[in-house]
Symmetry: C2
Subunit: 483 residues, 2 copies
């Protein structure tokens, strides 16, 4: 029975080499992050997945508040007429809108959009709230879900409904709005790298990839372990596009009536998908300690004879650790230690503490690292220090490993044939020159499926010739196939 239980997990996850997409779905489902919902394109976020989202919220929300932002809540239903006010915006979003047409048995006079994003309703309120320079800046964020009708969906990465945060700010000057958009981008970067241990490329979107209605869109782009890119967060300088359409004006100190400058920015639950794909392995999830719901799991190895004694020791360890980290004691009787090892490995808990009769006798415990699948024995007297050290080491080493992967899979290319060959063979980021013409961008996309992920802030070298037309490059860009 025990052996059978032990093998179950390994059987359940398709190896990455065999079928990466299936591996991803297997991990999401088996680790209990999410399940398919019986509603087209929707998922249920299960408790373990939601605990990850709560950790994301806790970390990001603290950073937003430290920089002066406050939360609010705007209605999820937006009248069609609001939605139609900004031309680019409506064109970008209308194919994806879910429409409410009836309330109870009554047909509505005007259809209501289930929000795909909230610029239009928020701008309508800002136009009422903002009168004077004294009312600025307005720095509001909202945690909510949005709905976008999608044809092809994948858990977390692209779902009809998804959880996100959307910040919407209004400023007195263009410089201040630009500073805000860049400040938020830096929050996203540091959060991705320092908390999720996911290195990112930071830069600006091309015209064709920017947000519908924005002046400029900035983004952080990550690389998944199959070599495809994933946009992890975006920050938009909206300029005065929306303030002019929604008439958001203020009386400035100089007595002039002016339009505000705006930004909007968001991160969605797709970063949970990024966590899976950047760090996961064939045994399942591998979570960085700073975001892990349980950083440590204690598994007692208790033969019948010394059962109560081992459990008591495990409880003491749990109490000791609980003051310093997020620890869980798995004292379930109906599962074997081997089954528990496999389960918590699959769920990506960074560190397992094992304690059995021999460990008690020797005054030691065994620590098993999830990232390297290594076990070390440490003295019980040093438990807290050892655990905290190892957690720090795991966090660092996961980031280093992901960074090495990103670097190893970023290729400078000047020749379009080479570009196509790399994409066909091993994917990754392709750094190239680009003349800035949308036609070249489109041609590359049609030929290869790769898009410009961003124009990086940090340029490695002169752009070189445009990868498609060969004319002198205006920008150095990162191309990739993306989720």
């Amino acid at each position: 029975m025990a052996m059978e239980q032990d093998k179950e997990f390994v059987r359940e996850i398709t190896p990455r080499e065999v079928d990466y997409s299936q591996w991803y779905v297997d991990v999401v489902l088996k680790a209990g992050l999410a399940d398919y919902a019986p509603v087209k394109g929707c998922i249920v976020i299960r408790p373990y997945g939601y605990a990850l989202w709560e950790a994301v919220q806790r970390e990001l929300d603290a950073r937003f508040k430290e920089t002066g932002h406050v939360n609010a809540y705007f209605p999820m239903l937006i009248p069609e007429s609001f939605f139609r006010k900004e031309a680019e915006h409506v064109e970008g979003f209308s194919p994806q809108v879910a429409w409410v047409t009836h309330g109870g048995d009554e047909q509505l006079g005007e259809r209501l959009a289930v929000r795909p994003t909230s610029e239009t309703i928020i701008c309508t309120m800002y136009s009422k709230w903002i009168q004077s320079w004294r009312d600025l800046p307005v720095l509001i964020n909202q945690w909510c879900s949005v709905v976008r009708w999608e044809k092809a969906t994948r858990p977390f990465l692209r779902t009809t409904e998804f959880l996100w945060q959307e910040g919407h700010t209004a400023h007195r000057t263009e410089e201040e709005a630009e500073r805000e958009a860049r400040r938020i981008l830096e929050i996203y970067r540091s959060f991705m790298e320092e908390v999720l241990a996911i290195p990112v490329i930071v830069g600006q979107k091309s015209e064709s990839e920017k947000f519908a209605g924005a002046l400029r869109t900035y983004c952080v782009e990550a690389l998944m372990s199959d070599g495809r890119a994933l946009q992890a967060g975006t920050s938009h300088n909206l300029g005065q596009h929306f303030s002019k359409v929604f008439d958001i004006t203020f009386l400035d100190t100089d007595g002039q009536l002016k339009y505000v400058w705006q930004t909007s920015w968001g991160v969605s639950h797709r970063i949970i998908g990024a966590l899976v794909m950047v760090h996961g392995d064939d045994r399942g999830l591998v979570l960085p300690p700073r975001i892990a719901p349980h950083q440590v799991v204690i598994v007692p190895i208790a033969p019948v004879k010394r059962r109560e004694e081992v459990l008591e020791h495990a409880r003491v360890l749990c109490r000791m650790l609980s003051e310093h980290c997020r620890v869980k004691l798995d004292d379930r009787e109906e599962y074997t230690p081997g089954w528990k090892f496999n389960e918590w490995e699959m769920r990506g808990v960074p560190l397992r503490v094992e304690i059995g009769p021999r460990d008690i006798d020797a005054g030691q415990v065994v620590l098993a690292r999830r990232d390297r699948l290594e076990r070390i024995t440490v003295s019980r007297d040093q438990l807290v220090e050892s655990v905290l050290d190892v957690l720090e080491s795991i966090q660092r080493s996961m980031y280093q490993k992901a960074l090495r992967f990103l670097e190893d899979n970023t290729h400078r290319v000047d020749d379009f044939n080479e570009f196509c060959r790399i994409l066909a063979e091993r994917r990754g980021f392709l750094r190239t020159g680009w003349c800035g013409d949308g036609e070249c961008e489109r041609a590359v996309k049609e030929a290869t499926g790769a898009t410009i992920r961003c124009i990086p802030f940090v340029r490695h070298q002169d752009p070189g010739p445009c990868i498609y037309c060969g004319a002198p490059g205006r920008y150095e860009v990162y191309f990739a196939r993306a989720y």
Copy 2:
């Protein structure tokens, strides 16, 4: 200018005696809790109101987690066919459902309900997840918004979309489900009384007032300062109604396949309305310290000559207090101290600390209590202790005041004419006997607008005769007109 500013606030709020409804709306709008949205029946929850909701979430969420609950997220769109499975449930909710009929330009094959509550989608998932007694209990909560099409709406109290939490649990035995429903009710009671300082009557709903599809509904009922009742939270023992319809079975330890026993329970953002109406006065909001976003506001009184000195002292006080409570320093230059006094009074900050040149010279500060509008002078050396003592005292005294009001406005009545007279004159809770017949309940409601708020757990005396038919009472009940 200063004097004009100072008067502005008082002018803006309609006194309760003049028009209670208008007073309520004035406080909600002027204190910045919410604003009307340009969507029928919807409000925008502004940052100050949302900070209150975040405090509610923080307090309740901690209590749910302490008792073993975890959070998850289920889709907001529910196929019509799911919704129609439980007969009582669909009858109760259908008139209020907002229907999505189109995704982009496509008409959907089946309409989707924007969730008015999530039993049907959650039960569908539970039926898949629950197989064995090992999978029980399932103790899941969800923080989200729901939509119910309402004819008459009022900010926070009744809105088309509202924020809430909904818990959904599944258990092995009937006793365990009953224990869960009662345990949650106790969490609601203690939260209302200890955190919001709102005393409540705890009991069971009559058949006609229970949740559509429940076996029994328990509730906590509060009394607003105009003598109308408000249902602040409900906890339902669902029995096996939903598990039989949605086929949620488990293999028990005895090898038998059985249906699970379920509960569901919720508290919505209407308790922010209760906070306004229980504690507010003609100057605006009065917040209990435990829930107040800012417990203390420091207002420096700085004449031009000693401006920098006073500000520096204020900053030191702020740093001292910030380790012990939620404190805000209002150092805005564009407003007078008088204007700030009025604004923070309107926003209900429990305690104001004033510091000016004379206070500095005398080594003292002035504390102004919002609840009693009293000012006391304390030694600066004792600041932290004094502030914490006064905050404790405010919390206690606000609860005592609300309890006295509840008691003074609860009347034992045996005669129906007396019943009608009290309701016409001063409202409040009416304790009466009830024979248990729904016809009597309906007749009282039609004649007076009062409904049975609950059958209390704590019975004061023998029920006495039924208030309507005069037959021997089976229950002692609380009647009231309610929000």
